[in-house]
Amino acid sequence: MRRLFGYEERSAAIFLAPVLAVLMGVAVFPILYSFYLSFFRIKLTRPNRTPFVGLDNYLDLFTNDLFWVSVARTVTFSVVSVAAILAISLLVSLLLNQNFRGRRVLSTILLVPWAIPYVANALMWKWIYDSGYGALNGILYQLDFIDKYMVWLGDQDKTIFLIANAFVWKEVPLATILLLVSLKAIPSDLYQAARVDGAGVWQRFIHVTLPAMKPGFMLVLIYETMMAIRHFDLFFILTEGGPGNASHVLSWHIYVETFRNLSFGSGAAMSYVLALVTFALSYTFIRSLGRKV
């Protein structure tokens, strides 16, 4: 009795057609194509020897030490930066949700980091972190926090955190905006009801604000995790994976494998491992936060 294409299905089809057309037309071919490449041993400098190797490119990863180093670096970078982004943007969005003088100015200032192209951002931080004449050393020295110029990016224990800082600095505005949008959707009578029920500030936050922010929170979590795991530009411009392999993250590893080593097959295989992890994380977040996107 049910029709496959009732009015609802037809409406849905029409509404989804543009987005599906764009993604099918532009994104699907590249995805399938690079997936296809991941089953071949491709070295561009040997254009005539590109055998089909099945899963070898994937299996080889298990014995590739540098690959695992890069996984560890990626995990460190992602966990640190996503946690920082979430914490800061949560606080900032709560702050901006208050009514106070200067809020407009503050929120406009806040958007500035977002507005800087990544390349400019990376160059700016490179300039700030420079151990010779950088602004960070300058200000710390003038404020007497340090008595001689420090090594920043060149210190392998600090590198990844400094890069994370540059990343966080740039990503907080977007995360804040997304959280703010979800905060705006909380009806104020919910707060009043909670207040009547005797809930204190903290309880109101836990029981009213946080649950209502969940969808926005999830969106930020997924988006920023995806961005952090796959982030590339800062590593490229600030360190190229160095010093040693202190910032040799997975995305940089893939870049090196693909464009420096010209091994398109294994580069694609690594990309798909990364994609799988990203998808699994997103899926878990969606599920564990108990809501479909």
Partner: protein, 320 residues
Amino acid sequence: MSDVPSSSTQVVDYRRRQRLARIAQRLIIFGGSILLAVYVIAPVTWLVSSSVQTEAEIVSVPPHWIPEEPTLRNFKAIFSATEEETVTYETRSGQDPAAGGFIPSTASSLLPAMANSLTVATLVVILNLLVAVPAAYSLAKIRTWGRNATVYFILITRVIPDIALVVPFFLVIRKLGMLDTIGSLVLTYLAVTVPFSVFILLQYFEGLPDELDKAARVDGCSRFQALIRVFLPLSLPSLVAVVLFTFLTSWNEFLLALMFTQTEASQTLPILLAAFTSDFTISFSFINAAGVLAIIPPVIVAIIFERYIVSGLTAGAVKG
């Protein structure tokens, strides 16, 4: 205090506690704002300050926070773009040091590149809205088979690292005959931004009551009319979030632009910025000046739109 009845003490205490709480709240807001502003603005201030320093001053140790001999030469170089079509031996920028020639010869391409970036970003924003809004509405409010599959399909298109997609993207663009055109960037940026635009709108639409949708349809709206007449006016904050997100993503994007563009006809701002760092003559102060200019258009866009998010013109009333 001892002669004050205990009940009255309590009243006084309450009032004082409330006042203290309010003062504490103000202090927290004030302190938080200052801290945040400093964290955000300090690097940018340095960027601005160094953009008006000379190349020699910029490497001072310790840095000169306030330029001792401020100069607008970098900005002049950018804005004094010659109108001439063809560069000849005579009109080439000879890069004679005496004439401040360390400014990259491509300085005059910066404004055209900004124009390209602006065009690309604007088109991507418009197309995103056209494409993502109906999709998000459909996924949020129309319950049909294939809905979940569509959500995951959209998500999957964004989990693969761009690096892996660069070459196949290039093949698509070449086959479409769009190499070195703005169109190539519009198309690919649309494909990389639209999934998240859909998700931003989707989570917002899902927050709007189902009954609103039902009411509209019983009132005689087709699905399309319900979207246009009822949902769109209510989604301003999320629409603004999408506008900002897509505009800035397009404005910032580097890798694809690097691959698809090669001449002034299509090169975007980030490409020019990167190019400045690798010419024979490199001026950090000039690069910083270019960075400062790069911030201005998005900040203007943000200023235009942010109040719709921050003050939430309509959203508060939705569920009330």
